[in-house]
């Protein structure tokens, strides 16, 4: 283990190097580009024994990754925002074909209007594509999540693609001290990928063929659903094994901070959680029972963990960087649904904040907690929106 000063993008690239990825296919897009540039350099310097494929669009990046993975190679790609949106049909293909491709997505707003700053709408819109989704809070976690993502994705009882999210600029381009594990430690945690089926000379198989209503279509889908359910346990196990074999604290599906006796729980994703920790500390100093639950895994969704939080708290304050038009905050909606049926479920406040990189500070979050102390828990409210003048 060595301590290095790395940007989030550097940390992801280090994770990919340590994972010994064999194929990297990518198309540049801000703020992701430096991930694959660093990987291209590693390939050129023979630090990473991989094929680097510069493709003509993200759609092709995912298609090439799927093709590579079908042969049994460990494949990686990275993208952001519009690139992820363009990949959408390929994302379904990856999970439907059960290829354990791992991708980093630097969370950035979708156009129009054009905006390159942090926003979670890009990955939230891929909710139903059958990809595992992990959101990192720090650069070190981004590195660890890449390795854990491969381990779970390639598990024969899972075999699903996984994306690791990191916030545009706040993580991607901000330098933090990162514990970079040794290759030997990573190798013990993440052995070579052993595919159950692969494209290779000497055998013949069909991939992605036609399946009419009365054949196997629904069965394939149900298998994917069951695999995603199994991924919950596998992610927990991977978190524990990583802590034991590689280092750090075990990462779970949610990450709780001072929630033991919390009456109000702030719930956030990604780097917002770092600000939320300061908010929690501030309230705790005044003796108020406030805690933080950071949602690390959005897919699979940690229903049980949310329910156990809900048994203790009177309010859950969800703050998220995405919105589902005509419904509300996508995370808040799922939190509400997870809490249904509890004997006395907490009130869920839903705040939409920080879209397109609009700043969210511990002070903003404090004001939202303050409202919860007065039992004000809006069904949906937008934080820091200017009134447009006609």
């Amino acid at each position: 283990m060595t301590k290095e000063l790395l940007s989030g993008n550097d940390a992801v690239a280090e994770g990919v190097r340590l994972a010994r990825a064999e194929v990297v296919a990518a198309y540049p897009i801000t703020p992701q580009t430096t991930i694959v540039e660093r990987l291209a350099e590693m390939v050129a310097r023979h630090e990473l024994a991989a094929e680097y494929i510069p493709v003509e669009s993200e759609h092709s990046a995912m298609a090439a990754s799927i093709g590579a993975s079908l042969t049994g190679a460990r494949a990686f790609t990275a993208t952001s925002s519009q690139g992820l949106a363009l990949m959408h049909e390929m994302l379904h293909w990856a999970s439907g074909q059960r290829v354990p491709v791992v991708m980093a997505n630097v969370n950035r707003a979708l156009a129009p209007p054009w905006n390159i700053w942090v926003d979670h709408s890009d990955s939230m819109a891929q909710r139903d594509t059958g990809w595992i989704q992990l959101y990192a809070e720090t650069n070190e976690e981004a590195l660890a999540s890449v390795l854990q993502a491969y381990r779970v994705a390639e598990d024969p009882e899972v075999l699903l693609p996984a994306m690791v999210m990191l916030d545009a600029f706040v993580l991607s381009h901000t330098y933090m001290p990162v514990d970079v594990p040794s290759q030997a430690a990573v190798d013990s945690f993440l052995p070579r990928y052993q595919p159950v089926a692969r494209v290779e000379p000497g055998s013949m198989q069909l991939f992605g063929s036609f399946s009419p209503p009365d054949l196997t279509f629904m069965e394939f889908r149900r298998d994917t659903a069951l695999a995603m359910d199994r991924a919950r346990q596998k992610l927990l196990q991977a978190g524990k094994d990583y802590a034991r074999l590689v280092g750090g604290e075990p990462l779970g599906l949610i990450d709780e901070y001072r929630t033991e006796d919390a009456e109000i729980v702030l719930l956030a994703l990604g780097s917002l959680a770092a600000a939320a920790r300061d908010t929690v500390d501030e309230f705790r100093r005044n003796g108020q029972k406030v805690g933080l639950a950071r949602l690390r895994s959005f897919r699979p969704f940690p229903e049980e963990e949310i329910r156990s939080l809900g048994r203790k708290a009177h309010s859950v304050v969800v703050v998220e960087r995405a919105h589902s038009f005509g419904s509300g905050g996508p995370v808040a909606t799922e939190v509400r649904s997870a809490l249904l049926g509890l004997p006395s479920p907490p009130a869920v406040a839903s705040y939409i904040a920080g879209l397109g990189g609009r700043e969210v500070t511990p002070k903003h979050l404090g004001a939202l907690v303050e409202r919860a102390t007065k039992k004000e828990t809006p069904r949906e409210a937008w934080v820091g929106v200017k009134e447009l003048v006609a």
């Binding site: 540049p28 580009t33 510069p54 003509e56 156009a111 054009w114």
Partner: protein
């Protein structure tokens, strides 16, 4: 989303070739007296694609590589507008290559300007589809968009200019605009536009450009010969520029041929796909296949 804004100062690096391209576009529009309020600029994504922010007229910032279908939609719905689609080589020949070829085939009356700097400028200088072998580790021979355009049977006006030769570039843009007005077809103008920050090619290109119009006997109305000449020029290590192709006046495009327009009184074509009712026919078809 609509915003009413005045054009802003270009955000391009000082010395960027895109300044010359914008000057040529502005002069061409002035020359033909096209009023700003009848002008629609559809920008691609890249340094080049920001051009509509720096000019008067309707501005539409398309998705990366998707400017052409957008521009064609505008023009076909309101033919009174002058529509220009303007983007980069990455935008047009990488992610948007499918649209490029199909727009040539479709032949809608718009002008498409590509600022080719042989790199992805906005994402900081990676190899693009037009990058030479060796640039930023590129190992793939480049695409030549003029040859690509010449290979499409429906192609209209095809030209290539150099931002370092502003008078000639302006002339090509003017010709392209005039072509869309008079011939009602698609005009494609690639302008070599050096990226001084990541791929400064001013001197190199100045030494390599060859105006094909100045070659003895060049006939811009002969697609096959234009292709052969461009290829020959390239094989000599030069870059063909100038008015490369202008379809002969008698060239009729399919959409203008009345005999090809379906008779609206006949209703849509139908296909009988009932297998049992046609078993005999299918059996015969299958037998014939063997």
């Amino acid at each position: 989303m609509v915003e009413h804004v005045k054009p802003i100062q270009p955000t391009w690096c000082p010395g960027c070739g895109d300044f010359g391209v914008m000057a040529a576009v502005k002069k061409g529009l002035l020359e033909l007296k096209i009023p700003s309020e009848d002008l629609v600029l559809v920008g691609g994504i890249g340094c080049s694609g920001g051009i509509h922010n720096f000019m008067d007229g309707y501005g539409f910032h398309a998705l990366h590589g998707r400017l052409l279908p957008t521009a064609i939609g505008v023009k076909l719905a309101n033919p009174r507008l002058t529509v220009l689609a303007i983007g980069g080589d990455g935008d047009g020949y990488a992610i948007g290559m499918g649209h490029f070829v199909h727009s040539l085939k479709k032949n809608a009356s718009i002008v498409y300007v590509v600022m080719n700097n042989e790199t992805y400028g906005l994402t900081k200088g990676q190899a693009s589809p037009t990058s030479l072998v060796g640039f930023e580790g590129n190992v793939e021979p480049p695409i030549d968009a003029v040859l690509t355009a010449l290979s499409v049977a429906g192609s209209g006006f095809i030209a290539r200019g150099f931002s370092g030769s502003p008078k000639e570039a302006t002339n090509l843009i003017t010709q392209a605009l005039r072509y869309t007005q008079e011939r009602n077809g698609f005009a494609f103008v690639e302008i070599l536009s050096p990226c001084v920050t990541y791929n400064d090619t001013y001197d190199l290109w100045r030494s390599k450009v060859q105006d094909v119009g100045k070659l003895p006997g060049y006939d811009k109305s002969d697609r096959g010969k234009a292709f052969a000449t461009c290829l020959e020029v390239m094989q000599q290590g030069k870059i063909p520029i100038g008015e490369i192709y202008m379809p002969p006046p008698e060239k009729r495009f399919r959409s203008l041929d009345a005999s090809l327009i379906p008779d609206p009184t006949k209703g849509p074509a139908t296909l009988d796909i009932s297998v049992s009712a046609n078993a005999e026919k299918y059996a015969k078809m299958l037998a014939n296949l063997e």
